[in-house]
């Protein structure tokens, strides 16, 4: 089995595209980092930040005097007050803030590249006709498919590791070493949540893994069933980009119909659980994981059964 996985990895990395994706990832991290530093002027804490925040509070209080019912401004004052209470510079930006914000945002690219590679890994063997030579070896079909699946996951995981390493280095160079345990306020749907930046980053990475696994598995399944990379990549990307939109629509449907909570889309992005405890009113993380697990088992069963029985006649 190990030699089969090694073979599949050799093939993935023998393709130029697999390396280009890593380079794109690297360039994207640098580009976004530089833009944030130069254009948005993000950087380390200003020693006089307390005075600035206090000045802002006074400014907002002026506005509030004219409009006593302005809730928006009241919230702003309250927020600024909590910056002072917790002693958090709202404009402080360090390597860990970069990791938690930008690098996590870039995981979208990893999913995208993994979908592309994962859907090629089976379908390209069909397109090139090499599947014939592959399946006349003394290995069961499921072993060969499993080796391909594992190799795809290893590639995805390498991309993630590469992203984290690039991100850390770029963050360090552009924004300086930050405190892993620095507190900050994370913006959520329900307002601001006090959190530790490093913990928050790790939590998001952890919550990202199941959704990466599921989306790559969907692409892998489609490419095995349809033998077509174009179709698999197309649907994979469709799922990837539409899951957030569909997720929003499903929130609305779920208010009326409970079954909508069982659809896969709202559960694809688990990183929301790093911000809030419930989605769709009452769905919690364990429940989302359970739903994903059921989908996962169905997808895998379909993929392997299909491949096992298929007649190879190209």
């Amino acid at each position: 089995m190990i030699s089969l996985i090694k073979n599949e990895l050799t093939k993935i990395f023998a393709k130029k595209a697999s390396w280009i994706y890593i380079i794109i990832l690297f360039l994207a991290v640098i580009a976004v980092g530089v833009i944030q530093q130069k254009v948005f002027d993000l950087g380390p804490s200003d020693p006089n930040w307390r005075e600035d925040v206090q000045a802002e509070i006074i400014e907002y209080q002026q506005i509030l005097k004219e409009n006593p019912d302005d809730e928006w401004t009241m919230d702003l004052i309250q927020q600024n007050q909590s910056y002072l209470d917790e002693n958090i510079d709202p404009n402080a930006y360090s390597s860990w803030h970069f990791m938690n914000g930008t690098v996590i945002g870039m995981t979208m690219l990893i999913t995208l590249f993994s979908v592309i590679v994962g859907s090629a890994v089976v379908s390209s063997e069909f397109a090139d006709g090499t599947i014939k030579q592959l399946l006349i070896r003394p290995h069961r079909r499921w072993e060969i498919l499993l080796s391909k699946y594992i190799a795809t996951l290893i590639y995805s995981f390498s991309l993630l590791v590469a992203l984290i390493i690039f991100g850390y280095i770029v963050g360090l160079v552009l924004f300086g070493a930050g405190d892993f345990n620095a507190k900050f306020f994370e913006t959520t749907l329900e307002g601001y949540k006090l959190a530790v930046v490093g913990d928050q980053f790790l939590l998001k990475v952890l919550y990202y893994l199941p959704s990466l696994l599921i989306i790559v598995s969907i692409a892998f399944m489609l490419s095995t069933i349809f033998k077509s990379q174009a179709l698999a990549v197309g649907i994979g990307i469709f799922v990837l980009f539409l899951s957030s939109t569909l997720g929003g629509i499903i929130v609305l449907i779920a208010e009326k119909f409970a079954w909508a909570k069982l659809l896969i889309f709202p559960h694809l992005d688990l990183t929301v659980y790093a911000l809030e405890d419930n989605i769709l009113q009452d769905v919690t993380l364990p429940m989302s994981l359970l739903i994903l697990a059921v989908y996962y088992i169905i997808f895998m069963a379909l993929t392997f059964t299909f491949f096992q029985k298929r007649d190879i006649s190209i």
Binding site: S3, L4, K6, N7, T10, K11, A14, K15, K16, D128, G129, T130, K132, Q133, L134, L135, I136, R137, P138, H139, R140, K309, D311, I312, S313
Partner: protein, 312 residues
């Protein structure tokens, strides 16, 4: 009991109630080159794909070197090396890396030396480190043979192996197969070209419309009774020759052809007797010319649809 290199029993393939291969059984002896001959679309490739389990069998059993392919899958697959139609490779990798890839998949260890040995055998030493996308069809074919032989299989399965090879290449390929069988390797070759089978195989099966309609050795086919060769004589006096032959009852099957020629159906020995008789009786024999009916003709006689597939 000696094990057969390959034993195929009642192999049947149905797709949506359409019978593609119908109850085909045959055996391949050790060190034998066995041909599957038939027009395109007769089911040769389907038979081969069922043997190497690329496609499922509706019915039937396959034994490779005594191993049942259903019960001892890995053992039986290890015994086989195959090229199924055109050999395809990972074009973005070198020939060597492609071979290494397949070597890694073997159950018996394939050493670096073995890979080099096989590369030398197929004459690809100079090109093996280039990417496969730079290879000509002939080179790919040879790389195909190399990947099939890599793990020392006892049975080599070649589906239309000479497709895309030039006559020189086909000749070399044939000689090469011969040398393999001397090492005890058995070979199955499929082709729609009878002339090729004639030169390559020890025995062959004729497949038509999914059925095995005839198995015979090349010699058998050549010696079949209805195919006593026709010999053409050119003499100065055809009528006198006819009288003589009738008198000595050497032939009944007499045919006068244009000019001073006649042809009779006689075997080798009788040809000499006829010549002696004519010469002794003062008839001038200008030429004796055996008209060999080709195997092709006999193949056509056996298969009804031969014209479409049997011709080059």
């Amino acid at each position: 009991m000696t094990k057969k290199a390959l034993e195929v029993r009642s192999l049947t393939k149905k797709v949506k109630n359409k019978v593609i291969v119908d109850d085909v059984s045959f055996e391949v002896e050790k060190g034998e080159i066995f041909g599957l001959l038939g027009p395109n679309g007769a089911g040769k490739t389907t038979i081969i794909r069922m043997i190497v389990s690329l496609i499922g069998r509706t019915k039937g059993e396959v034994f490779v070197n005594g191993y049942n392919i259903d019960e001892q899958f890995k053992e039986s697959m290890s015994e086989m090396g195959a090229i199924v139609e055109n050999p395809e490779f990972y074009k973005y990798m070198s020939g060597y890396k492609n071979l290494k890839h397949y070597a890694n998949m073997a159950t018996r260890e394939v050493t670096e030396e073995r890979i080099k040995e096989v590369v030398k055998l197929v004459g690809l030493e100079n090109a093996v480190h280039q990417k496969v996308k730079t290879y000509s069809l002939g080179m790919r074919q040879r790389l195909g043979v190399a990947q099939a032989l890599l793990h020392n299989p006892s049975l080599l399965i070649l589906d239309e192996p000479t497709n895309g090879l030039d006559p020189q290449g086909i000749r070399e390929f044939r000689d090469y197969l011969r040398s393999l069988t001397k090492q005890g390797i058995s070979v199955i070759v499929s082709s729609h070209l009878l002339s090729e089978m004639e030169l390559m195989c020890d025995r062959f099966a004729i497949i038509e419309k999914g059925k095995l309609i005839h198995v015979s050795s090349i010699n058998q086919l050549a010696n079949q009774e209805q195919f006593v060769p026709t010999v053409q004589f050119e003499v100065d006096d055809v009528n006198k020759a006819f009288e003589l032959l009738k008198e000595h009852q050497l032939t009944n099957d007499w045919k006068v052809e244009e000019g001073q020629q006649f042809s009779i159906k006689v075997d080798k020995e009788t040809t000499a007797d006829v010549n002696l008789l004519l010469v002794n009786n003062g008839i001038k024999v200008y030429s004796i010319h055996p008209i060999t009916t080709t195997l092709e003709d006999r193949f056509l006689a056996l298969t009804s649809k031969g014209e479409q597939g049997g011709k080059k």
